[in-house]
């Protein structure tokens, strides 16, 4: 169930790149544009749980951003997450 929920065929209207530049959508979960399966739980004002099954890295972020929806602050959080994956992905 988790694999189905977090995977979307490339040609689907729900695929990352089609739905939005960086995100696609599975079963009530956001799917990252990535060569490997990676996904996130997201809530307004900056709530996020990022999950990378390949490395078993998880980032939890609770926040009180003033804007409910995506802002530049999302890009900074994603930049941090990518850095964590790059620098701490190997055991």
């Amino acid at each position: 169930m988790i694999l189905d929920a977090t995977t979307v065929p490339e040609d689907s209207y729900l695929a990352p790149g089609k739905l939005s530049p960086l995100l696609g959508y599975g079963y009530q979960v956001w799917i990252a544009k990535s060569v490997r399966r990676r996904f996130s739980l997201l809530g307004i004002h900056g709530q996020a749980v990022f999950v990378d099954p390949a490395t078993k890295l998880v980032l939890v972020h609770t926040a009180v951003r003033l804007h409910p929806e995506a802002t530049a602050q999302d890009l900074e959080l994603v930049a941090l997450w990518y850095a964590v994956l790059a620098q701490y992905g190997a055991k």
């Binding site: 729900l14 009530q28 997201l42 809530g43 749980v49 998880v58 055991k91």
Partner: protein, 328 residues
């Protein structure tokens, strides 16, 4: 070449950062960006339940997002037994990232961004755990739409237990009150994919459809979930053809699950996920005046319990010695 140099620099700085770092114990700060405007002078206040002004003004955000149970009583999602073990790295990590044309450390991130909590874990080990705005590891943080994924997991478990027979069943099979409505004939799969096709707009502007939805399920005298959903009875597209992020779609999934399993979502979450996860504290979930949990938002949990949920998902559903959510 430039990129290669940049990575080399990153690595060196990251190593330098590691050498200076503290053990990966939880770190607490009484402050945070714009702490004064977030109400630090008054201990980050929570508005009283009958407050008529803007509950989501900056002044109340920290208080409300960490003490949501003071706004409305929440239904308890009990945990049980000893918490599952999270190890701690000997030193906390010090990732370095590029943003806004400069290199920044994770501590710069916290200095510049209004995070109440930030936790990074790998496998079963906490690598970094910080709190700001005087929040702590005992506070329970509001999910907002992260609860949607939890509702989605409960759909998956109900399917595996056979109480939901097929992901392609229409909603009315489980929620007869919605028979004859646009939602009643929509499949569970279309709802899971935010593709119900109903005419619904979630813009987070005043008087958008999520405001209409919350006005039915939040107030103590609101009519509740079924009546809330019946407000959205116009079909704009066939189900399963168009993505439209909709809290109403998730609210309907919540109705489907609770009817299919014959128990409140809080109880189903407790028995199927929360206790098995070895959560260290009870979670909470807002229920509407009809007793239906607000499935699209409004769960609360400690930061480390959100991490346990994330780690369980990172392990394809297996955590604390058991398969909690089916992998396939």
């Amino acid at each position: 070449m430039t990129r290669r140099v940049c990575y080399a620099t990153l690595l060196l700085l990251a190593l330098a950062g590691t050498a200076r770092a503290e053990p990966a114990e939880p770190m607490f700060s009484a402050s945070g960006p714009e702490a004064e405007a977030y109400g630090s002078g008054e201990g980050y206040p929570v508005p009283p339940p009958d407050y008529q002004g803007d509950r989501l003004s900056q002044h109340f955000l920290v208080g409300q997002y960490s003490h949501f149970d003071l706004f409305r009583p929440l239904r308890t999602v009990p945990t049980a037994g000893p918490p599952s073990i999270l190890k701690r790295a000997a030193t906390e990590i010090a990732p370095l990232y590029a943003y806004g044309g400069r290199l920044k450390l994770i501590t710069d991130y916290l200095h510049d961004n209004p995070a109440t909590g930030l936790l990074i874990a790998r496998g079963d080990t906490i690598l970094f755990e910080h709190y700001q705005y005087a929040r702590s590891d005992k506070d329970r943080f509001l999910s907002q739409s992260m609860a949607k994924t939890v509702t989605g997991l409960l759909v998956g478990i109900a399917l595996s237990e056979g109480t939901i027979h097929s992901i392609d069943d229409p909603v009315a099979t489980y929620v007869p009150e919605l028979a004859g409505t646009a939602y009643g004939s929509t499949s569970i799969r279309a709802l899971l994919q935010m593709s119900s096709g109903t005419d619904y707009r979630e813009t987070y502007q005043p008087n958008d459809d999520v405001a209409k939805l919350t006005r039915s399920v939040f107030p103590p005298d609101g009519p509740g979930a079924v009546a809330a959903i019946k407000q959205f009875d116009t079909r704009a597209a066939p189900p399963g053809t168009r993505f439209n992020y909709s809290s109403a779609d998730t609210e309907v999934l919540g109705l489907v699950v609770s009817r299919a399993v014959h128990m409140p979502l809080a109880e189903y979450l407790s028995t199927r996920i929360w206790k098995k996860l070895g959560a260290e504290a009870d979670a909470g979930w807002l229920a509407d005046p009809t007793g239906q949990e607000v499935a699209f938002c409004c769960m609360v949990a400690r930061l480390r319990d959100w991490a346990r949920l994330g780690l369980m998902l990172a392990h394809d559903g297996e955590w604390n010695g058991q398969q909690i959510v089916p992998r396939q």
